[in-house]
């Protein structure tokens, strides 16, 4: 079973703070991490390989420093790392990003499963996974919380929905985006860390991937950001004090008007 896991390096959004004077993001001292949802995709890929043999290739599109994310994924058990990096990719929206990653998956070739996290924690779009599968013209299942069975012909998975889950059979090759419930990512082993240091990260440019330059970067992106602003921070309101009965009276009165 050959598995490709697509990951993104993101700023740790839980560390992002707003400068109250300028009302802008403070990015200094914010560490870069692997998108939390991608950790589940990495873990699932490694588990599939442990059970079925084969190879896990982890791929990321990003600036040169995204190499760190790939090494971390290798320390968790991925076999190979591919960094897709090129100035020509700058400004790519989800359309262009999923095109580039689909070209990378094609270049890696000979895959059975592509795994992605359900969304990235910085952009929160959940659009790149489905975008990759559509560019590759392979079936997709999003929000997968369990792979029940899988072989080189088909897979049976559970897809999380608002009300519960669906059981879906899909032919292989296919692309799955996964949610937190699917597994508990392991910590890197010492051996894994050693291997991650030594493993060579392959670098691929737009040209290496035979990208159509009209489909990448700013020019290949249908969407444009026209404004970025910080929302007014939410402030704490009233702390209710007194006897429980008084508090409850006040609360029910206030909430009732919202029903």
């Amino acid at each position: 079973m050959n598995i490709v896991v697509c990951i993104k390096q993101v700023p740790n959004t839980t560390q992002v703070r707003i400068n109250p004077e300028t009302n802008t993001l403070i990015r200094e001292g914010v560490e870069s991490i692997i998108n939390p949802f991608d950790m589940y995709a990495i873990e699932e890929g490694v588990r599939l390989r442990e059970k079925l043999g084969g190879k896990v290739t982890v791929v990321s599109m990003g600036p040169p420093q995204a190499e760190g994310a790939l090494r971390e994924a290798i320390s968790m058990g991925c076999d190979e790392g591919v960094l897709v990096t090129d100035r020509a990719f700058a400004g790519s929206d989800t359309w262009a990003t999923s095109y580039v990653l689909s070209q990378a998956v094609k270049k890696i070739g000979d895959f059975n499963i592509v795994l992605c996290g359900k969304q990235a924690s910085d952009g929160d779009t959940a659009q790149v996974g489905p975008g990759i599968s559509t560019h590759l013209d392979i079936p997709q299942v999003t929000y997968v919380k369990k792979i029940e069975t899988i072989d080189e012909k088909k897979a049976r998975v559970e897809r999380m929905t608002e009300e519960g889950f669906e059981i879906i059979e899909t032919p292989v090759p296919c692309l799955l985006t996964v949610v937190k419930e699917i597994n508990e990512p392991r910590l890197p082993s010492l051996k894994g860390k050693m291997r991650a240091k030594k493993t060579e990260i392959k670098k691929m440019t737009a040209e290496d991937l035979n990208c159509d330059f009209d489909k990448i970067g700013l020019d290949g992106s249908p969407t444009r950001v026209v404004k970025i602003f910080t929302p007014a921070p939410r402030r704490g309101g009233e702390i209710l004090t007194g006897e429980i009965s008084e508090i409850v009276d006040k609360l029910t009165r206030e909430l009732r008007s919202e029903f």
Binding site: V16, R27, A90, T170, K180, V226, T230, G237, L251
Partner: protein, 389 residues
């Protein structure tokens, strides 16, 4: 032309601009070409050059709403989008249209007319009874290619986010995810799509200047439902497609409903959530009882889910669901940033926690410093009295 005013440095969300010798310098390794600085610069000193291409927009008109149905019931998010879609259609002076895919759903078209749809595009087929990626994305792409809407909206639900992301690639257009604000730039006739990013720390307004339709998925419960006008009528356009459009590679074997309550989190107007302070799985009983009394759904913090007190499908927060109900009651939840990311856009937040320093109080509309095991049952009792239950 740079005057060294530093405005661009402040607006750059990627900290890619710094001042050197009183001039702004862009670090291209950090720059993401987002264009925020171009907008901010008062001296036209920053330029973002893109290819000039010719696009034909004239043939694209009308605002479409993809109306999601489950078990042949149109989901409320569709009614919210019809409400919002009407505002956009009025500004553009065009029609508001609904797209309805399913089996035996023709009767629902009436409800869509009553909520403002001028045209309902209906595709009724056994292949569309349940949502499946392949037939839904192929049918929707066919409809768009034939009737050419200017704007397409869908709920940012598990269906909407899987479906529209596929359609956007198929028909080569832009898509903005999980919008919380929509408007029209009247001068340029463009859809302004505003959405949170970086865990809600910043808001971005996004446009699709050259491609059509302009597509957005929209967060639940943000837009107001369309008002029902019983006498309103519209035009039903029914389309049939061949098997190659309706075929699917994946196969839906079964649907399992496991949310214990009837209300799902994303749809809920009221959510009562429990955290570490609840202490044990059986204690979620008092959370459930309050939720049941006031017609709410039950949520949970990550620590309650990780402790196996309640299934993951109830988790609110960064690795769970993002919700924005009218009322969010947080019981025994300290309010870690990961949790706040998922619920801080709720209209009214009530926090009940023993620790007066808990961060949840910083976002709460009403805070109660106290024992949830006393406060929550007392609230339930009072609500039962008021509501006559």
């Amino acid at each position: 032309m740079c005057a060294g005013c530093g405005l661009c440095v402040k607006v750059c969300p990627f900290a890619a601009i710094s001042m050197k010798d009183k001039k702004a310098v862009i670090d291209y390794d950090r720059c993401n070409l987002c264009g925020a600085c171009v907008e901010a610069c008062k001296f036209n000193a920053i330029e973002l050059k893109t290819l000039e291409r010719k696009y034909d927009h004239a043939s694209y008109k009308d605002v479409w709403v993809f109306c999601e149905q489950k078990k042949s019931v149109v989901q409320s998010v569709a009614y919210e989008l019809l409400g919002e879609g009407r505002k956009l259609a009025s500004k553009l002076d065009c029609k508001l249209c609904a797209v309805l895919l399913g089996e035996g759903v023709k009767d629902s078209a009436g409800a869509l007319f009553e909520r403002g749809a001028d045209i309902v595009y209906l595709v009724d087929s056994p292949h569309l009874k349940y949502y499946q990626d392949d037939p839904y994305s192929k049918v929707l792409a066919e409809l768009i290619n034939e009737f050419k809407p200017e704007i397409l909206l869908s709920g940012a639900t598990t269906i909407g986010r899987s479906l529209i992301a596929r359609v956007a690639i198929k028909i080569n257009t832009g898509l903005t995810a999980d919008c919380t604000g929509l408007d029209i730039d009247l001068e340029k006739k463009l859809l302004l799509q505003t959405r949170p990013a970086f865990g809600g720390n910043i808001m971005a307004t996004i446009i699709t200047p050259n491609h059509r339709p302009q597509m957005a998925t929209v967060r639940h419960k943000v837009m107001r439902e369309a008002v029902v006008e019983k006498t309103r009528k519209g035009v039903l356009v029914e389309k049939k497609y061949d098997n190659d459009v309706l075929s699917t590679r994946t196969n839906l074997v079964d649907i399992v409903e496991e949310i214990e309550e009837t209300v799902n989190l994303a749809e809920a107007d009221i959510i009562v959530s429990g955290g570490r302070g609840v202490g044990a799985p059986e204690n979620f009983g008092i959370i459930r009882e309050l939720a049941l009394t006031i017609g709410g759904a039950v949520g949970a913090s990550r620590s309650a889910v990780d402790a196996d007190w309640i299934p993951y499908s109830h988790q609110v927060g960064q690795t769970g669901k993002t919700v924005c109900p009218k009322i969010y009651i947080a019981c025994g939840i300290s309010g870690q940033i990961q949790h706040l990311i998922g619920m801080q856009s709720s209209k009214v937040i009530v926090a009940i926690n023993k620790d007066p320093d808990a961060p949840i109080f910083k976002v709460a509309t009403y805070g109660v410093v106290g024992d949830l095991f006393q406060v929550v049952p007392a609230l339930t009792k009072k609500f039962k009295q008021i509501l006559g239950k």
